[in-house]
Symmetry: C2
Subunit: 367 residues, 2 copies
DNA sequence: TATCGATGATTAAACGATTAATCATGCGAT
DNA sequence: ATCGCATGATTAATCGTTTAATCATCGATA
């Protein structure tokens, strides 16, 4: 839409100078005397001049637009991510174009193509389940997990798992059921890895994959957690608040009080986590920071890139690829009920009890 | 990013014709012989020609980009909405630029300005709590509620409330607590209106506003639903699945089984609704349809608009401003427990029992 | 046969910004 | 006095597309 606003030449005419000078003054590129430059800036401001992105794009080959690709847009994390990326991008002068792929790989490819056709300067991709990103022909920032090759920046999911585990361990849990959705997800695997490695040999950790369960029992089937409690599990560490919610309601429904009889933890601090009863203990990503790093890396790559080439679009890299997660302790986790097997056995391997003391009380930031 | 792809002139040269002819052939506007046009289309296709949006935008004043403004981006409905709008827009040849306002009105204005500065051809706005949209200078589609002035298209929230109420009424509920968040929200008021009006005088309906409760008791405070059950309420109709979730977990935690001792219903069919225990009975919007109508109206307005004028941007209007909601019955609603006051009294005003038979069993589409 | 009209294609001028190349000017140094 | 150079500003080309105006050609009509 052609705005009404004044054009470059209008400012030029107003001041009796050439359009080129105005452009130079505003961009600080050419040679313009300080006073004139100032005068130009002032009149540009009071005339409410806004450059035409289209004109600039045509000339420079830069659209100042980034694409945001979220293969799994139904993901409840979407709001957080979109918000963070939009903030980072807009404060760097970029717009954000969304691309949806409805979870489907073919659709995703199409969506990415549409972004390319729209001449985005770069894209931020949050891949689903470790999908490899084909070369797209423009700078790409990948937000997945630090352990994924080609990852630009991500939360330290492993560390998040560690924090959750240390918290549960410190509370005294020794039989833990980890609930994940899909073993193909790098994010989930890292979180689980962090949990398992922290518990080590002094505890019993089992994994339940929801997707394989549902393949047999149907979508939304019960997870059978009451039985697990009967087996002696005292804590359910879920790789997402969505699963934590599912676990929590199923346990409650079965008359198993959380956290008295069993603890439940999640990941991501999704919208409902603070308001359910009991509020969920979870680990939160610093999305703002992640987005800032991703966008910064992207912008840098765009700046260094020759606008003419349609060169290879290898994922860009950033300094700090690993952003710590933050443990948020709420009411869904507590000490296990007085139980069958106690210290003696476990105290052996538990220097962890001390280190676990570091575990954040409500809202501490990790270094 | 300047793509590598061929330009118009390249195709022209390849065929020994002028660029204008190619443009005409591809757009079907000028006068080009059928054969030549076909030949041009073919070579354009095999050369993989993609027009430069920047060039076109500069010349036509149309960017083929729509802005999506969601004042409350944290809204868990966001994924649904964004997905639907993106789909509708992209199949109409438009890109979608997101604008975030972090719930803040000032920020929202800035975000809208940024969209304007980027020359969006139009915008879709989902206002929060009946915020009036100031004139933004480009066509605008407003998705709020049918009862809001200036609304372009929306779900029939009132009708959704009616369906929920008919469902509960048919089950035998006569004391219902409606749980809302904020009385300033048109959407919530319509939903509540539909519920109240359907129950009529034969039942007792009370409203609980979460926000005012939290203002006194603090964020995330208990809603005191156990007490309400003690007072004889048998159903809790929430205006959002988020609140339904809160109610459900609070009731469960208090040892009140859902749906045996109390029913809980929500709105919007959010991501967790099918997987919590018991799964939530809710009313779903047909976002795909709503988005399609909004975008269609927008595109029409854009087409009729003189690209030169920066005219007033009154909200566009659509034929079918009211899209029916769909009742989704799951496990969180059932007949109230055998109770103190029974038929005799209620049977008098209940032609509703019959009409309620229409209430959809699991997943029926409304006409 | 001269003319009119319809048809098919070309020319050229935009759109609004950027930028390399050019020009003018004044000053210091030779 | 002149050359050279640094400085400050202008000229003009360019990005890729659209579109109004123009031109050429041919058939038909008067």
């Amino acid at each position: 839409m052609a705005r009404s606003g004044p054009k470059l030449t209008r400012i030029a005419r107003t001041l009796g100078v050439s359009a080129a000078t105005v452009s130079n003054a505003l961009s600080g590129k050419g040679r313009v005397s300080a006073e004139l430059a100032e005068k130009i800036r002032v009149t540009a401001a009071e005339l409410g001049y806004v450059p035409s992105l289209a004109g600039r794009a045509l000339r420079t080959g830069r659209t100042a637009v980034l694409g945001l690709v979220l293969p799994d847009i139904a993901n409840p994390l979407f709001p957080q991510i979109a918000q963070a990326i939009e903030l980072a991008a807009s404060s760097a002068g970029y717009g954000v174009l969304i691309a949806d792929s409805r979870g489907d790989v073919a659709t995703q490819t199409k969506a990415i193509e549409r972004l390319i056709d729209r001449d985005v300067d770069g894209m931020v991709i949050v891949p689903r389940r470790g999908t490899r990103i084909a070369d797209v022909g423009c700078p790409v920032a990948v937000i997945d997990t630090p352990s994924t090759p080609g990852n630009t920046v991500a939360a330290d999911h492993w560390g998040g798992g560690r924090q959750i585990a240390e918290h549960l361990k410190a509370l005294g849990h020794r039989r833990v059921l980890v609930i994940g959705n899909n073993p193909a997800s790098n994010v989930q695997n890292d979180r689980i890895g962090g949990i398992r490695s922290t518990f080590g040999d002094g505890a019993f950790v089992e994994i339940l994959w929801i997707e394989s369960l549902e393949r047999e029992e149907g979508k939304g089937c019960p997870l059978g957690l009451a039985a697990k409690v009967a087996e002696g599990f005292t804590a359910f560490a879920c790789v997402s608040d969505l699963h934590a919610l599912r676990a929590l309601t199923e346990l409650q429904r079965a008359g198993i009080n959380v956290p008295e009889k069993a603890s439940v933890t999640g990941f991501d601090d999704l919208i409902w986590s603070p308001v359910v009863t009991p509020a969920l203990t979870t680990a939160r990503m610093d999305m703002t920071r992640i987005a800032a790093i991703a966008v910064e890396a992207l912008v840098k790559a765009i700046g260094e890139r020759d606008p003419a080439d349609a060169g290879i679009g290898a994922p860009v890299t950033a300094e700090n690829a690993e952003v710590p997660m933050q443990l948020v302790v709420r009411q869904s986790s507590a000490a296990p009920p007085a139980t069958q097997f106690q210290p003696a056995q476990t105290i052996a391997n538990a220097g962890a009890a001390a280190s676990a003391r570091n575990t954040a009380p409500e809202g501490e930031h990790q270094p």
